[in-house]
């Protein structure tokens, strides 16, 4: 559905490459996360795909059409939810949604507008002027706008930034349902648990380069065979374990990265201080831990 080939972009002569030879392909129905630190190139990549940023080299095709062709079929195949809350403040929600349908060449779309508005809990706000909406409602409106022309691909650029936890979970549920209905989704996010919870594939970008592109399970295995141990204890852990395993040591809260082979050794060591341990949690590494590992260690080599 989306094919990106050798994409490169530099904003000006003296700047670093914002995108450096990025290539990937998303198949129909995939739900992929695009992860990366600030300034990694995520939004530039989205903006090139959506036609906002002019690329220096490489190719992008959507639903089989090169984006330079500017075809109706290509434009209607994709829906974009931009990162910034950018909405026309003059109009009501209903007017915005009607105009949006019109921009996509759809004259009578009121039934689908009502359906999408209901799914995104916007029905009560249809006659409200956009500037009176809360940030969360505006975010829902952005998503509604991106869906009115029934795209096959949805690109969400940090859709939950600055959104409260309830709305975030609402949006999770909604995009999961859309994906279940066959929509291809590319999500960029800073909330790494989002990627872990929602996506089946993870693309990791850093300094403009795609440094990982794996199914989530494989991605989680990439950084090695280790577990994350979080414990709350007022004790100098380096007295009983190898200090290289201690990744964070903030007061009583410690985070350890322990190779699976050394777990028995750790448990035996923890036995010595079992009376003073307040809390203990052992889990597989999340995307966050792998993300840090890959961008700080392997990624830049």
């Amino acid at each position: 559905m989306i094919k990106v080939e050798n994409l490169s972009k530099k904003y000006n002569e003296n700047s670093k490459l914002a995108l450096d030879d990025v290539s990937f392909e998303l198949q129909k129905g995939e739900f992929a996360a695009l992860l990366g630190p600030n300034g990694a190139g995520k939004t530039t990549l989205i903006n090139v795909i959506s036609g906002v940023v002019v690329r220096d080299s490489g190719n992008v095709s959507i639903a089989g059409y090169n984006i330079d062709q500017n075809r109706v079929e290509m434009k209607t195949a994709i829906g974009i939810v931009p990162q910034e809350i950018a909405v026309d403040n003059f109009f009501t929600v209903r007017e915005i949604l009607n105009l949006q349908s019109g921009y996509y060449g759809m004259r009578r779309n009121s039934e689908y507008i009502a359906y999408i508005a209901e799914r995104l809990s916007l029905t009560d706000k249809m006659n409200s002027v956009v500037r009176s909406l809360s940030g969360g409602m505006k975010r829902r409106l952005l998503i509604a706008k991106a869906l009115l022309h029934k795209p096959k691909i949805l690109i969400l650029d940090e859709p939950t930034a600055g959104v409260d936890i309830n709305l975030r979970h609402d949006l999770y549920r909604f995009v999961r349902e859309m994906n279940g209905e066959g929509m291809t989704i590319l999500l960029t996010t800073h909330y790494l648990e989002e990627a872990e919870e929602l996506c089946s594939r993870i693309l990791l970008i850093d300094e403009g380069r795609l440094i990982a592109d794996k199914p989530k399970k494989e991605f989680l295995k990439m950084a090695g065979d280790f577990l994350i141990v979080k414990l709350s204890v007022n004790y100098d852990m380096s007295k009983i374990i190898d200090s290289s395993m201690i990744k964070e040591n903030k007061g009583a809260n410690k985070i350890l990265e322990v190779p699976k082979s050394r777990i028995p050794e750790l448990i035996s060591s923890l036995g010595q201080i079992q009376d003073i341990i307040d809390d203990l949690n052992i889990s597989s590494p999340g995307v966050e831990e792998l993300f840090v590992r890959l961008t700080e260690k392997g990624g830049r080599n």
Binding site: V53, V72, T76, V87, L99, Y103, G105
Partner: protein, 263 residues
């Protein structure tokens, strides 16, 4: 999707932009339509009051108020038709909604046409409002009404095109106002809105004849009052050429995505 369906979609997206633009200026109708009506009544009231106490009230044999009415309509149309796309596009840039034009299935000509036609419509409506205001003082009489309103429509389109070009290149209303203050206003006022350009001294008179606004005002006035001097063929052709260049530059900039794309 067959070609008929594709053309229909392009047309609807263009039409939507026109509707959006009309809705925008109608939402602030007091500023965009009523204000020019009131300010022109005040303007003409002052002139009429001033001339009531003077002997000669004519220019080239015409009542002065009748003489300046087409010029006033012209200048009101110029400013409204120009400002509409400038404000609308710069507001879209502030709101960051301008980039959405990259998402829509819309041809460059549709985007250009949408902004320009809506701006021209506002100019034309302001022209009607100004005529209604002026008629209170000079009567409602136009020598060649069809040609006059065609001239108003043409001026609206040309200035809306100029406003569109300004809007896509500029990023602040303050900067765009420089163009109004330094270029548009001097050209319009020196173009003979309030006086007969033939009365200008020497070189200014010669330069005045090549001012495209003087050419347009002369034609507008001619069809309004039914007589007077028409500009020569050469200045007329130059003006037409300038309009064609303006269109070509605007179209090329639209195709290149000026104002909506990041290079």
């Amino acid at each position: 999707m067959n070609s008929k369906e594709i053309i229909a979609r392009y047309y609807i997206s263009f039409q939507t932009l026109v509707i959006r633009e009309i809705k925008r200026f109608m939402l602030i109708g007091v500023q965009t339509l009523v204000a020019p009506f009131i300010s022109n009544i005040l303007f003409l009231g002052i002139f009429a009051g001033f001339f009531a106490g003077h002997g000669d009230k004519t220019v080239k044999g015409f009542d002065y108020i009748s003489f300046i009415t087409p010029g006033l309509i012209f200048s009101a149309v110029v400013s409204s038709a120009y400002q509409n796309p400038v404000f609308s596009i710069i507001m879209m840039k502030y709101q960051d909604t301008i980039k959405e034009f990259n998402y829509f299935p819309m041809k460059p000509l549709g985007r250009l046409g949408g902004f320009v036609i809506a701006g021209a419509l506002r100019g034309f409506l302001v022209g009607i409002m100004t005529y209604l205001a002026a008629g209170l003082f000079s009567g409602y009489s136009i020598a060649h009404p069809v040609f006059f309103w065609l001239a108003v429509a043409a001026v609206s389109l040309i200035l809306s095109l100029a406003g569109y070009l300004t809007g896509i290149y500029m990023y602040s209303v303050e900067k765009s106002n420089f163009i109004v203050i330094l270029i548009l206003s001097p050209l319009v006022y020196l173009g003979g809105v309030f006086f007969n350009i033939e009365t200008l001294p020497g070189i200014f008179r010669q330069i005045g004849f090549y001012n495209p606004f003087a050419v347009m005002i002369s034609y507008t006035r001619y069809v309004y009052i039914g007589s007077g001097s028409l500009p020569g063929l050469f200045p007329s052709m130059m003006t037409l050429l300038l309009i064609l260049i303006l269109f070509a530059v605007s179209y090329r900039a639209t195709v290149k995505g000026v104002g909506i794309k990041i290079k």
